[in-house]
């Protein structure tokens, strides 16, 4: 378990010189420190949620430690996305306990949760058609210091810089996904929830997003990832939780992956 944000000097470039090393502002590193001390960023206990009358989550339990990439795996409709939405506070009715950096957020509104440092990149990407790329990128307000600067974001996603004045939805699927990730990196939130970032994208783009996630992890971001693409998840995740019928039914670390492959095939039907 990492006990402190890695310093810039210890980082190795992940994919060559094309994208220079990121430098997180010092303020961010200091601010993130308290959560690092006890290690746990997020703890979800017995989370249940409802869409109107239909009961969709039946007691979800898992936790995420600082600096980890944790992946929720599961079939379509298992409740992975609903789990992220519940943490973000955008599902109408939810019970149980969601503890973020020591604070209970089960009853908080989504704007308050965002301001506590939780950032969300939705499955449908949520690029705004009436805003150009620059406006989309600058839309989420800064919630705390220590976010990436625009220059750092353009280092990560050079395509975006060239398309700043395009309408948001005129971008390709891959560019839209990059924009959706890029805009939450500015905010200073250190806990990112990414919902199926690779869905519908070409392999070369998926690879680039994988590099980006690894890079962000290296920078000290804590990431909760929802994926159906297990092969992709295995390249970035530290730990996995299996979600089925609105419950977490299993969990293991990346190091235990090979011994769990048979079980995994059964769970995911792959």
């Amino acid at each position: 378990m990492p006990t402190s944000r890695k310093t810039s000097a210890s980082r190795k470039p992940i994919w060559g010189q094309v994208m220079p090393d990121l430098k997180m502002a010092e303020a961010g590193a200091t601010k993130a420190a308290p959560s690092m001390a006890n290690g746990q960023v997020l703890s979800v206990q017995n989370l249940e949620a409802w869409y109107g009358e239909s009961h969709i989550l039946h007691g979800i339990n898992f936790d995420v430690n600082a600096g980890e990439v944790v992946t929720l795996l599961g079939r379509n409709g298992a409740g992975k996305t609903s789990t992220l939405k519940s943490i973000m506070g955008i599902i109408g009715k939810r019970t149980g306990s969601i503890n973020f950096n020591g604070q209970q957020i089960i009853r908080a509104t989504s704007d308050r949760i965002a301001r506590m440092g939780v950032a969300f990149c939705p499955e449908e990407r949520g690029i705004f058609a009436s805003l150009d790329v620059r406006e989309n990128l600058l839309l989420p307000p800064i919630v705390r210091s220590g976010g990436l600067s625009l220059d750092q974001i353009f280092d990560l996603f050079p395509n975006l810089k060239e398309r700043l004045n395009s309408q948001g939805t005129k971008l390709s699927g891959g560019e839209q996904q990059m924009l959706a990730i890029a805009r939450i990196l500015r905010t200073g939130a250190s806990f990112l929830m990414l919902d199926e970032p690779t869905e519908g994208l070409a392999p070369v783009i998926i690879q680039q997003i994988g590099h980006t996630i690894a890079r962000l992890k290296n920078e000290g971001f804590t990431i909760l990832l929802v994926e159906q693409n297990f092969r992709f998840a295995s390249t970035v995740a530290d730990r996995y939780y299996i979600v089925e019928h609105g419950q977490v039914i299993d969990g293991f670390a990346n190091s235990e992956l090979s011994s769990n492959m048979d079980k995994l095939h059964t769970y995911l039907g792959v």
């Binding site: 955008i90 704007d111 965002a114 301001r115 058609a129 009436s130 805003l131 406006e135 989420p140 905010t187």
Partner: protein
């Protein structure tokens, strides 16, 4: 020729009111998805507010131009917080019925106290008199109304289309849940937007007070035409409602000159044509 220019000016003035009112309606519709039938009543409240400020508190036209929109805007925000916000997510019809009811109540209360006849409101001294432009005589107050309305409309357009706050508004129009999940207090923004739309209506009311007198039903008569303007321009488009507002005022004026019999119906005939050819309006998006 003099008569043509005079009618054009009348058209531009009516167009100013159409633009200010339909702009407010467009802003409100975009954010709240509510067709604000109370708009005419709120416009009337703006004019009455200016009247009270002058006759009760001795506060003149210029301060009223600022105070009345703020006061009526606050009244609007209270309406939104106490009533309209509960309708979010429901069919348009509920908002329409509720705001129509509010309009009837507000107009009824004013009619009860002030009757139906007009109360005079004098043109401020600075804007009295007129200018001979050679080809026509321009009453200064009327010129002021046109120029000032246009400036306010363009400022509102700039606020919504070119500023960061406007980007929040546009984004929240598309996907309020996600905007809120970025940390923006969307419910508060909706309340302020309703206040802004209502404030624009009240501003139009103050501008209109010296021209049209102050009457409880002044908004009820005007709002029918404004809704036709909105249908023609298309709900939800900011620049569309400004341009359509001014253009239809001018078209009305021209009709008054060339074929006076049709001047009261020309807007509605255009509305029918637009509905037949392009039901979303000339610049609008699908509801």
């Amino acid at each position: 020729m003099q008569a043509l220019y005079a009618q054009l000016l009348v058209g531009l003035i009516n167009g100013s009111f159409y633009a200010l009112l339909s702009l407010g309606l467009a802003v409100i519709f975009g954010m709240l998805n509510i067709i604000n039938f109370a708009h005419g009543a709120l416009y009337m409240m703006g004019a009455f507010c200016a009247y009270f400020l002058l006759n009760v508190a001795g506060i003149g036209y210029w301060p009223a131009l600022i105070i009345a929109p703020i006061a009526v805007g606050i009244f609007g925000m209270i309406l939104e917080r106490t009533m309209l916000q509960w309708l979010s997510g429901l069919d348009h019809l509920y908002g329409l019925l509720l705001t129509f009811g509010i309009a009837l109540i507000v107009q009824g209360v004013f009619q009860n106290y002030f009757g139906s006849s007009g109360l005079p409101y004098a043109i401020p001294d600075e804007l009295k008199g007129g200018m001979n432009l050679g080809f026509m005589f321009l009453p200064i107050y009327r010129g002021w109304v046109v120029v000032f309305s246009l400036a306010v409309c363009l400022a509102t357009w700039y606020l919504i289309e070119r500023t960061r706050l406007g980007a929040y508004l546009r984004a929240a129009t598309e996907n309020p849940t996600l905007v809120r999940a970025f940390g923006i207090n969307v419910p508060r923004m909706i309340t302020l937007t309703y206040g802004l739309g209502v404030g624009l209506a009240a501003l139009a009311g103050v501008l209109s007070a010296p021209i049209n007198q102050v009457r409880p039903l002044m908004g009820a008569d005007l709002i029918i035409v404004v809704f036709a303007v909105v249908v023609i321009g298309g709900m939800g488009s900011i620049m569309g409602s400004i341009i359509t507002g001014f253009a239809l005022g001018v078209i009305e004026g021209l009709t008054k000159y060339f074929y006076p019999e049709a001047s009261n119906t020309v807007v509605f005939v255009l509305m029918v044509l637009v509905l037949l050819i392009k039901p979303t309006g000339l610049t609008g998006r699908a509801a």
